[in-house]
Subunit: 396 residues, 2 copies
């Protein structure tokens, strides 16, 4: 007697659980350190010491009725102002605290944007490969997810197919930059061209098309790469952020949505988004964690840790003979499957206790994703196993 909409999720869930249980079975059998689990985006880097100190100081010095109490549904005004100013300092933007809504992580932030915008039947474009959860988020509001086919040369968005798939029902586009699962950073040139297409299509169809930029990996960019700050290129942009990755707080569910003044009817849209945050049941983002991240606004991620993993894994796998996209950001490595069906490759990896996620889970078969937010030892110890796997697959 559960809702009809929930039935496919429940049916699909057993497949995910099987994968998870198989990982646990391998770990129980061989020991956790003998299993090379590249399947999860749970950071292995601990949250910064500054965050712990901030939490303890807040608890010792501020009124508990404030620290744990209700505030505006958009979040503490001073927290939003601090974050706005920090962004303005780094990106040359002109946000005030009123442009920010604190949310229960980026997942909830994306839902706030989509609930604010979508009427049933309206279309949301995503670029394959993409985080499949976007589909669930769009369906939450009876929207229709439309996939843009991948550009397997560069894994930059395929703007030809993008332009072809925009129609009068298109309400929004979701991008994820730096990208999960490919580790690619969408370049300034890409964003400029994308903005130009959107401007043209807005005029053609006579209504706003929103660019929703999901940026939990914004701080994870290597070799000095710059991640374009999208509000500067296109007016109808909403930015969704989470501290999950930069401060290693995925379980805390703390992030924000930016709705700039340049967005069409920004005041009404900000009000609607604040109400969406409330009536989703979230009410507001967790209060203590709001105060804590504001004190660590400039703490940033431990880039060095991920960079070392990135280089070691990329070089090691390439040496084995695998074809990989060189990761520029986030903490994922995207690798071509030597087998025609990448699920066969994922299965073959399990023989060597290597756990990878098939590209089909990101709407892009023929590839696998490796999350390298694991310990350095896991990377180093996995390489001899990958070497054996490469021989089995005939790439060595």
């Amino acid at each position: 007697m559960i809702a009809k909409k929930m039935i496919p999720y429940v049916q699909n869930n057993s497949a995910i659980r099987l994968m998870f249980e198989e990982g646990n079975r391998l770990k129980a059998k061989y020991g956790t350190d003998k299993v090379f689990d590249f399947s999860l985006g749970n950071p292995n880097v601990p949250a910064p010491e500054a965050l712990k100190e901030a939490i303890i100081d807040i608890l010792n010095t501020e009124e508990p009725t404030k620290v744990h109490g209700y505030m505006s549904n958009a979040g503490f005004p001073e927290v939003r102002q601090t974050i706005a100013e920090e962004l303005n300092g780094r990106f040359g933007t002109k946000f005030s605290g009123n442009n920010l809504i604190m949310t229960v992580g980026a997942g909830s932030g994306l839902n706030v944007c989509l609930k604010t915008l979508l009427d049933p039947g309206e279309e949301v474009l995503v670029f394959a490969p993409y985080f499949l959860e976007y589909g669930a988020y769009v369906r939450n509001y009876d929207g229709v997810l439309v996939e843009v086919t991948p550009n397997t040369e560069t894994f930059q968005p395929n703007l030809v197919d993008f332009e072809a798939k925009i129609n009068e029902k298109t309400k929004a586009v979701i991008i994820n930059n730096p990208n999960n699962p490919t580790g690619v950073i969408y370049s300034e040139e890409t964003i400029q061209k994308m903005a130009a297409i959107l401007e043209k299509k807005q005029k053609e169809y006579g209504h706003a098309i929103y660019l929703i930029s999901d940026e939990p990996y914004r701080e994870l960019a290597f070799d000095g790469a710059k991640v374009p700050f999208v509000t500067k290129y296109y007016a109808n942009t909403m930015v969704v952020y989470s501290y999950s990755k930069s401060l290693s707080l995925p379980g805390e569910r703390i992030g924000y949505v930016i709705i700039p003044d340049e967005v069409e009817d920004s005041e009404g849209t900000i009000t609607a988004a604040t109400i969406a945050n409330r009536i989703s049941g979230a009410v507001n983002a967790p209060s203590l964690m709001q105060l804590a991240v504001a004190r660590c606004a400039d703490a940033g991620a431990d880039l060095g840790f991920y960079d070392k993993n990135r280089k070691t894994l990329y070089e090691g796998l390439t040496k084995c003979g695998f074809t990989c996209v060189k990761p520029e950001g986030a903490f994922y490595l995207w690798m071509k499957s030597p087998a025609a069906d990448e699920k066969d490759f994922v299965e073959a990896g399990k023989k060597y206790n290597i756990l990878m996620v098939p590209g089909t889970s990101f709407a892009c078969p023929g590839y696998v994703r490796l999350a390298y937010c694991v310990s350095y030892e896991t990377i180093v110890n996995s390489l001899p196993q990958f070497e054996k796997l490469a021989k089995d697959m005939g790439v060595a």
Copy 2:
């Protein structure tokens, strides 16, 4: 260009903001201690010292990658088990951790239940007066909210109208016990009769009708009153709880949903609810706060504080000549308006810097709600003002 569904919320929002701004205007003009604000359910009691100590100890002794990391979408298994055992000890239930899903407060918990259950057009019954946000939650899933008219004698649910309004489209009933806004506790007799009606109607229509019991005020019951634990009276029950009131943590958004084994297809329903928690964007309840509340599972609310306020306000208002429902639980007092339109009474109160919420905001005109989770001084100092107001209204 916001979603059509959001437009009425945005329009209605300005009325709420006006009320809020008027309160702020009065406080700025006369001083916060000269304004008697009974409009908000934000507890004035600080969170227990034990909670602060628990948070600091967790930060100092446990791995940050665990404390702030992802866990099962239903919550940490040991947290759910601890809470289940604490409930079993108090209520003689037989829950395991698997029957609990940790949620982003009760607001999110209610949304998890409704998303799990509702198909578009299905009806959800609520008993007036009720928390109007239930309407938004039901509309989130295209359900239809059906109001049962109040029993203004006792403010126990009107079971005659309840039975008459159940039909083949009825999927669920939401109760809130102890009740916001009336302060009444639904008695064991009420729950037994309600369960009998539901059993009969389930047979008549051949499908499950779920009882969703929203219980953030469960621990706030005075004079030794017992709040019936609803899963013991009716199989298809889901209990929604929040630590907002018992531990004074409304801003932290931490609570849970119980889905007992007795619920029809309990395994599928628990799986669906766990997925609903995930795809709503919440993903999981805030991690540090999950660990902290588990350590304070038996800490409880400062009943003495609220009880003193309750008695002083109830006796004071009654002495003034007002007609009040004697509060049995929660921290609300429900008072009959001496004016035919209670909004005139609310306006008249403002002359004496008294802020009350009109019963219309709970679908029950002719009454007002006073939230007495304020300081004792506010109560004491408000009484001479209420005396003047009573004279103005001709009840003294």
